[in-house]
């Protein structure tokens, strides 16, 4: 099996993102599975960031701590990240020479041969392509495509720069680089969590997206704004997150599918609005892209620290949907489902991602567009006589129309209200309205999909996880099983209401979460009565990976 990890590190502003992304695209172009993730500091220039690319012939889609190939654009970053190179790994470097070093003076070449240091990054990608044993043709195709908008001269200079880097590295590689990634027929999608969510929302018919910038969620509105003409979506930067959530609610009340996105601090400001959506029974989709907290925390790192906060967000009691997709494909389909369920049950839905999922590029083999249903649950106004927006009935789901749709008036109140939406002080009616709203919770619960099971029948120890850590967890199961350990995994992506599910008895359960207090574990106990044997937690801002989990499991 092919499984090669590359790390490119450097300061912000030096272009490791460009190098990493181009390399990932090149491997993808060559027909391989690629997974890439980034870790970066909260600054615009300087510091030490890294971009990590894992290439395989299997869909791995999970991070790894150690690398086979390492390259760095500056000394500080090299000092910081070089320890991640395996002892038998290959260093690609501008100056250093040595047994396991491929030396390619990118900057010097760029300056000398192409008259501009800007081409150094392309020289570097060329070198890495050679080290990986990918044909130059794949890189050339990527360059032609990526630089297409910048004019012929730029394209051809970059092509030459890449060829130069490729040539120099190839020479050094002889007898040192063990990899050959010959071109394969397959072609996968290489897409990030944020891109998948934006596209999924659009596919679900979202026509109104409003947000206030906040890392790592900003990419979603940026994507939609860039493509607003094609996708016909109205986007707006709000003055703050409170405006954002109330605008989304207003748009949804007016009949459009609408959403907003933020991270923990901005989401916190939306919590009153979530309660408003619950009370006025207005569909609403919010993306909560988590990052390490409390407060501002580590703005550019990853964590799953907001689970219980999200589930319990908003004063008072009302149904709410909380999903945490595991990867871009899941994110794409899940957000469609979130829009549909929010619409059907007229209530808010929260999609939880995190910086890791938002920013990482995953390989997707296929999307199931044909299985995707996206239907609005508005009733037909012509069939209604005496319209009651909040009609009491068996399901708790009242007929929803939008204002201006027909002669029927659509009246919503944040106060407790009667069936027409008018403010009420009738306490008996209050009671029935509470029950009406909570009936929807019961029905919703039945809609929730049970967790994914992986090798659980013969497993003695089972990892239980949620959201973006799925692939790392499945991978550690594979690795441990190869070593004879009978382990399995149960993975949740639909977290509220928790699906009806029977945990197999007599197993040892270990929660695996990117947080410090084991929030999923608490839910398992309160909702399923499952007491976990152990917890594996990561809270240093880096994503979970199989090495990390394995070490804690075996030594913990």
């Amino acid at each position: 099996m092919i499984d090669i990890s590359t790390i490119v590190s450097g300061a912000a502003g030096q272009g490791i993102h460009t190098i990493g992304y181009m390399l990932a695209k090149t491997a993808s172009e060559a027909g391989y599975h690629v997974f890439s993730w980034q870790e970066y500091e909260s600054r615009i220039r300087g510091g030490s960031n890294s971009y990590r690319i894992r290439i395989s012939d299997k869909p791995v889609n999970a991070p790894l701590g150690k690398a086979d190939i390492f390259m760095s654009l500056d000394r500080e970053s090299k000092a910081k990240h070089l320890p991640l190179l395996k002892t038998d790994g290959i260093l690609v470097d501008e100056e250093e020479r040595g047994e396991r070093v491929i030396t390619v003076p990118f900057s010097a070449i760029a300056q000398r041969d192409f008259g501009n240091k800007l081409f150094a990054n392309t020289v570097a990608v060329g070198a890495l392509t050679a080290v990986l044993g990918i044909e130059l043709a794949s890189l050339k195709k990527v360059i032609s495509h990526e630089f297409a908008g910048k004019g012929g001269e730029i394209v051809s200079k970059n092509l030459s720069a890449a060829a130069e880097g490729y040539k120099l590295a190839k020479r050094d590689c002889e007898g040192r680089c063990p990899w050959t990634l010959t071109k394969r027929e397959q072609r996968y999608y290489l897409i990030s969590g944020n891109e998948a969510l934006a596209l999924g929302a659009s596919a679900a018919g979202c026509r109104f997206m409003v947000a206030y910038p906040m890392t790592p969620s900003t990419g979603i509105i940026t994507f939609l704004s860039k493509h607003k003409d094609e996708l016909k979506i109205f986007t707006e930067q709000a003055e703050d997150e409170i405006a954002a959530v109330n605008m989304a609610i207003g748009a949804s009340y007016a009949g459009a599918r609408a959403m907003t996105a933020s991270s923990g601090g901005g989401f916190a400001l939306m919590v009153e609005g979530i309660s408003l959506a619950g009370m006025t029974e207005t569909p609403l989709v919010i993306i909560l892209a988590q990052r390490p907290a409390p407060a501002t925390g580590l703005p550019t790192r990853t964590e799953q620290g907001d689970l219980l906060f999200a589930i319990n967000a908003g004063h008072g009691e009302f149904p709410k949907i909380v999903f945490a997709p595991s990867d871009p494909k899941d994110a794409f389909h899940k957000i469609v489902r979130a829009f549909n369920l929010a619409d059907k049950y007229q209530t808010p839905a929260i999609i939880m991602t995190d910086q890791f999922l938002a920013d990482s590029y995953f390989t997707v083999e296929n999307f199931e567009l044909d299985k995707m249903v996206s239907k609005s649950c508005l009733v037909n106004p012509d069939k209604i006589q005496n319209y009651k927006r909040f009609q009491l009935n068996d399901t708790g789901i009242s007929p929803r129309l939008f204002p201006g749709q027909s002669q029927h008036l659509v009246c919503c109140d944040s106060d407790e209200h009667d069936e027409y939406g008018h403010i009420t002080e009738d306490l008996e009616l209050r009671k029935r309205m509470v029950e009406k709203r909570l009936k929807k919770y019961e029905l919703l619960r039945k809609e929730m999909r049970p967790p994914e099971e992986y090798h659980i029948s013969d497993a003695g120890a089972i990892f239980v996880s949620w959201g973006s850590s799925r692939n790392a967890v499945l991978e550690v199961v594979d690795v441990l099983r190869e070593n004879g350990a009978k382990v399995g995994a149960i993975h949740f992506t639909e977290l509220w209401p928790l699906p009806e599910y029977e945990f197999p008895p007599e197993k040892n359960y270990y929660t695996v979460e990117s947080n410090a207090t084991g929030q999923l574990g608490k839910l398992l106990r309160s909702d399923y009565g499952v007491k976990v044997k152990g917890t594996i937690n990561r809270y240093d801002g880096l994503p979970l990976d199989q090495e990390y989990i394995r070490e804690r499991f075996e030594n913990g």
Partner: protein
């Protein structure tokens, strides 16, 4: 022809008997009737407070949302359905206090909606605390020794940020107010009417205090002169002017113009889901 009865609501009115809010209600109904608008063509948006209960007392679409959050809701409704007559009815606390940031930034957006502020210079529903428009030194049920802050100048803020319809009304002058609202509602762009509305339960001034000071802007007053308007907006003492303080009928960029001109000119509700092949094609770019 729409009749005034069309706007009659069955909901029990919860305002204090004799409150000038009733005058604003009557004037608004009258304005809508005069404009020939049917209840289903109108959408009121309010927050929380006594003023914000208004939508319950005239029959039409409404969204009575959170305290302070009227404008974001209204602006979004206007984006989704530009054909709805979207009117915000709010209080001085709702709009200028809790909602201050939305007031500031939505003037800049210039959405095609009307903002009516019931300005009673007090928090009525919570029983008499100072609002941003309560005058300095006035004593209230929370500011026992008198308010220590200078009052907000919301009209001036609006003028400074390009609001092209700024008016002040008086709840006690039905005809004048009704006409003002007709002008405001039919204005294209953000039209803003701050209505003096004495609170007879908690107000720091009596009704007559206001009545004696209020005068109508004279015929000669030129509402196209912004400098003059800035001065008029600050006139609050022995005399308080009512009427259209500033009006600029030149076409201005409206919120959402780019979208309407370049992407889609209609109700967003008509769009439904995008064609699946468009999504398929966009996904294909990732391969």
């Amino acid at each position: 022809m729409v009749k005034i009865e069309a706007y009659r609501s069955d909901a029990e009115n919860q305002w204090c008997p004799g409150c000038p809010n009733f005058g604003i209600l009557a004037a608004l109904k009258n304005a809508l009737v005069n404009l020939g608008k049917k209840p289903e063509e109108v959408c009121l948006v309010s927050g929380i407070g006594q003023a914000a209960k208004m939508p319950h007392y005239l029959k039409c679409n409404f969204f009575n949302g959170l305290h302070g959050r009227t404008l974001p809701v209204a602006v979004a409704i206007n984006v989704v359905n530009p054909e709805l007559i979207t009117i915000v009815v709010t209080g001085d606390g709702d709009c200028y206090g809790e909602g201050g940031n939305h007031f500031l930034h939505n003037i800049r957006r210039n959405p095609n909606i009307t903002l009516i502020v019931h300005n009673n210079q007090i928090y009525g529903l919570t029983k008499g605390q100072a609002s941003p428009t309560t005058e300095a030194e006035d004593k209230t049920r929370l500011q026992f020794e008198g308010v220590e802050l200078e009052p907000l100048q919301p009209l001036a803020i609006a003028l400074l940020h390009g609001c092209s319809f700024v008016a002040r009304g008086y709840a006690g002058d039905f005809k004048h107010l009704s006409n003002l609202l007709v002008e405001a509602i039919s204005f294209k762009g953000f039209s803003y009417v701050d209505v003096i509305q004495p609170c007879i339960s908690w107000g720091t001034h009596s009704v007559s205090w206001y009545r004696e000071k209020i005068y109508k802007l004279p015929q000669e007053y030129n509402p196209r002169d912004k400098e003059e308007a800035l001065k008029k907006s600050a006139e609050w003492g022995d005399r308080i002017p009512i009427g259209i303080i500033y009006r600029d009928d030149k076409p201005h960029r409206l919120f959402g113009d780019y979208f309407r001109k370049n992407i889609f000119d209609g109700k967003l509700t008509e769009l439904g889901c995008p064609p699946q092949r468009l999504i398929a094609e966009m996904i294909e770019r990732y391969r």
